[in-house]
Symmetry: D2
Subunit: 142 residues, 4 copies
């Protein structure tokens, strides 16, 4: 009889992007806050393409995702016009959100940054976190 | 008998701001698109402080201002942490919008940029331009 | 005997991009200043891919391109996650720069914005505009 | 005989800023990555005004500050045009950098976000972290 998996491992997905000129800062590499924008862009892409539930579908159901916390470690700089990859995946389901880990890879495959985000599922009417509906849990548990 | 003023001149207002580090680009001066953000920030400030009708009040009435066109001439660069001034004023009332001219001045008083914006007054329900209500015309005709 | 072409028409190039979540503003569509960032990103892409002279090559030669002026007409809004195209091409060579016209097309092919930019070629040592070298003129005259 | 202070407490400084319209995102509050830009802007202000060593002075000495990691907890949203305060201070000196903690306060005094940043002091020639020079240690140990 199979035991219940205590530590499920969820699928990880990869989005390719390119640095825009306006992402470059006074040190001629990508500005530190833009890495957060890349992670969010990757999540939007993967929600639609991989989890089959786009942000627009969440919005249509009256939901939003608010960031509760983030930890990021910057390892190597992204350069002007560089093509990079953002890998994300769910680490853990919370009652009212998810913990997502991410890795950003440079064009040469080396790690540019990694870390974790904690996102709360928000009822946009009350603007408060709500328990994850079963439908969302299922779509995300891949 | 006084003649009708064919060319009314409207009040001009000034907002002081400071360059943020994230505004700086690969050439170590303010990125060209951020000048547009400064103009918008100045308009928001002046709408509340000078015209006595904040963007939030417009929004509460169901209105928004969408930019229809913009011409900007870049004259001198804004530098890191520079304190600068944005002067704006109405050049002309349109049936469904306004033409605003702007001048951005460096800390030393020299011209950094100038130009004009055409803003449409939008009914946020239909997302279409509407005729300027009398109340708005009056508040702006100073 | 062929007559000199008084009105040469230069090649036009197209770059595809996608709206990032951080480009969206309080009206839930792309913020007006981000259109300028898209145009710049398209030029960077086309300089490398189409004119065969990347910004990094310009920089290695001690040159930069500074924007001298811009006129943009906003026609239709770009939406969240929308895939759009930016077409640009040279309208005219100036002694010390170029006039570039651009069109931004929505995913449905309709025009989102158009306009023109005037870019000066800058000697990065003096930070002043310089005459276009023959090599650049040739690479761009396609 | 006084004992060595094992846990020195360093001065904390406060910078006031205002939300710009371009900081607002699709949820009509400040975009999550802009909080990082506010923290950086506060550090730049405080380096010049409080520590008496501006970023430009660091740059003139051949130094830069690169962010090595960041943890941020989002507590309450910053709103359009809101005036807020960023308090920062050094938590700990590293051999080749500093750990800075920050708190962002809303106009009503409530906490909007808090967290810590790890900044490395970079020799801009080698682009590698270097030991903090005595002069910088002294200016910062207030």
């Amino acid at each position: 009889m199979p035991e219940k998996n205590e530590n499920p491992v969820y699928a990880r997905f990869v989005t390719e992007m390119q640095v825009r000129p306006d992402d470059i800062d006074l040190y001629s590499h990508v500005h530190s806050s833009r890495y957060l924008d890349y992670i969010l862009a990757a999540r939007f892409d993967q929600m639609e393409r991989c989890y089959k539930m786009s942000m627009q579908e969440f919005a249509a159901l009256g939901f939003g995702w608010f960031q509760r916390s983030l930890t990021i470690n910057y390892k190597r700089q992204l350069e002007i016009a560089e093509r990079f990859k953002v890998e994300t995946g769910i680490e853990e389901f919370l009652k009212d959100g998810v913990i997502v880990s991410f890795k950003i890879f440079k064009a040469n495959g080396k790690l540019a940054a990694d870390g974790t985000c904690n996102y709360a599922l928000i009822d946009m009417n009350t603007r408060r976190a709500v328990a994850l509906p079963q439908e969302i849990l299922e779509k995300y548990s891949i």
